[in-house]
Symmetry: C2
Subunit: 337 residues, 2 copies
């Protein structure tokens, strides 16, 4: 058995890497929501000064990286690895943001699970002794996502009740071998899980089975239970997906009630902000983690969380071809240092 492997899908660190610094950039709607005060920067211009929404996403990642460096009292060139990805076709938000910066880059695609996936891979790279200053980063943008996955905004399509609102935002976290800040103690890599949901406007239902599978795997592999955590935070299941996870979990003997929170329901006021089932997109769990959650852990308001990034694995092509939507969920156990 590999030294740090636990069970089927998980590993645990002997010397847990630290998340020493984090940064979050958010858009206008997010700046009007309940987590507004936790973001480092908010911007009312949906273009972030660029000509296209895709370039706005690039700009958000650049701002997140710059802010991260400033908060860490480092130069951006001090980072020695950037693990990042986004929702845009061929992940151009991430690649364009790092253009000619000389930063070693591992490109990822995990849909909305990317914040957890990038943290997980950063922790492998740092915890294994291969890199020193690894950045986990991702972004999403409401307008670029809507036109890529559903309809261009100008079309004025009506949103269904199960729809979620893609968060405009970018988050970045610096992972180092040691230092002050919350520690990554263990991770579970998710498997592609699919119960046959085909409605591209109901991502929560598509992702909930993957979330449950990964949470169960984490508990089994590492001998944990819900009470070992202050909070089990899913990426962006939204209200419906969260309800499904609670119900199906209960049926399988996993009582998440009282412990479960979801970034998609934390980031917006669901009653006042007209976002239907809540937030979604890579940026949703990214800014909730790199704003709100890490801050709470750092200040001792939370001691231990299981951060479960959830992603819906579909493309407009697969949806048009009538294929179902798979989900994936990666879990990262983060503890107050």
């Amino acid at each position: 058995m590999a030294k740090y492997k636990c069970g089927r899908q998980s590993f645990r660190f002997e010397n847990p890497p630290a998340i020493t610094t984090w940064a979050s950039i958010a858009g206008k709607k997010e700046s009007e929501g309940p987590l507004a005060s936790y973001f480092d920067n908010t911007e009312t211009d949906s273009y972030f000064g660029e000509k296209t929404w895709e370039q706005a996403e690039k700009r958000m990642q650049q701002l997140a990286l710059k802010t991260l460096a400033a908060k860490a009292n480092m130069q951006e060139t001090d980072f020695d690895l950037v693990c990042s990805g986004d929702l845009l076709n061929q992940c151009i938000g991430s690649s364009f943001s790092l253009r000619n910066m000389g930063l070693p880059h591992l490109g990822l695609y995990g849909a909305c699970s990317t914040m957890a996936e990038s943290l997980l891979i950063s922790s492998l790279a740092v915890g294994g002794g291969f890199f020193e200053n690894a950045v986990a980063m991702t972004s999403s943008h409401f307008a670029s996502s809507e036109r890529q996955y559903r309809f261009p905004l100008g079309y004025g399509g009506q949103r269904t009740p199960t729809a979620q609102w893609t968060v405009t935002g970018a988050g970045a976290a610096l992972v180092r071998p040691k230092g002050n800040g919350p520690k990554i103690t263990a991770c579970t890599v998710g498997a592609v899980t699919d119960l046959g949901i085909t409605d591209a406007n109901n991502m929560g239902a598509a992702m909930a089975p993957a979330a449950l599978a990964t949470i169960k795997a984490h508990f089994t592999d590492l001998n944990k239970k819900p009470d070992d955590f202050d909070l089990i935070v899913t990426g962006d299941l939204g209200q419906l997906g969260k309800d499904i996870l609670l119900t199906v979990g209960q049926r399988e003997g996993i009582q998440l009630g009282g412990k479960l929170a979801d970034c998609g329901t934390l980031i917006f006021d669901l009653l006042k902000q007209d976002v239907h089932c809540g937030g979604s997109g890579c940026g949703c769990s990214a800014v909730t983690l790199c704003g709100y959650l890490l801050d709470k852990l750092n200040k001792g308001k939370l001691n231990r969380i299981l951060f479960c990034g959830t992603g819906a694995l579909l493309s407009p092509t697969s949806t048009q071809q009538g294929l179902p939507i798979s989900g994936v969920c990666h879990a990262v156990s983060i503890e107050r240092s």
Copy 2:
């Protein structure tokens, strides 16, 4: 300094992981080329028995994984990590191939550098003691790529002289902590490099600067020179990109002549197969590595290669918006055991 880190972008293993098994699946045109005898399976039906080319790509990855398991005398469920990605929007070739298999999956996007990127991340996961049986896998398909990036085939668009031919194929490699087979001794993570090429039909020129930057970084970080390798193999620069790399390398004092090979020129007969500048696509370097190169290393015909996966980071959206094409290149040093 992290224990295994070398220089700015590289790391070296104290106990190099082994590539114990590899498998390759290729399409019709590839089965008519010079490497035909090295592939495990070839198929003349471009749909691989599926209804769409996107699903054909899924099927190819499934076949590669199944073949890998059979060659390793293992069950597919014995694999404990699959690092994979592809060129399709939202990497649906990879995610659909792993649907409901229960295999822990890290999704990657590195364009045509994915075989190198997935090997590199697998080696981190295994070399760091986190996983035991990691699979690095990728695929591409001529028809799904043409219609996504350029024109649907039925349109009959004329190919420019600098164009390359996307390889239809999938490759998979099993990385284990030890065992018989070529060893991964060191890796260099590439940075996003962009000299301003905007012609989406000239990927070789877009990727050559990234290849040179990564090869230089590998030499500097690990104190190596071209003569330390039997072969320096770039992913899929094609004939033009390879010529550019040789010329620009020479200008910068790096003499690659006599050592440089390119998967894009190895896989097809450029004079007879009407592929213009050669092969491309994630599958190009994947089947060349998981067919030809690892076989040569295993039989002692090669002792040490630097496998340099090259990727062009663009999307149809970025091209339509007039943006340049960045390149990235990851290098994996592989030695005969």
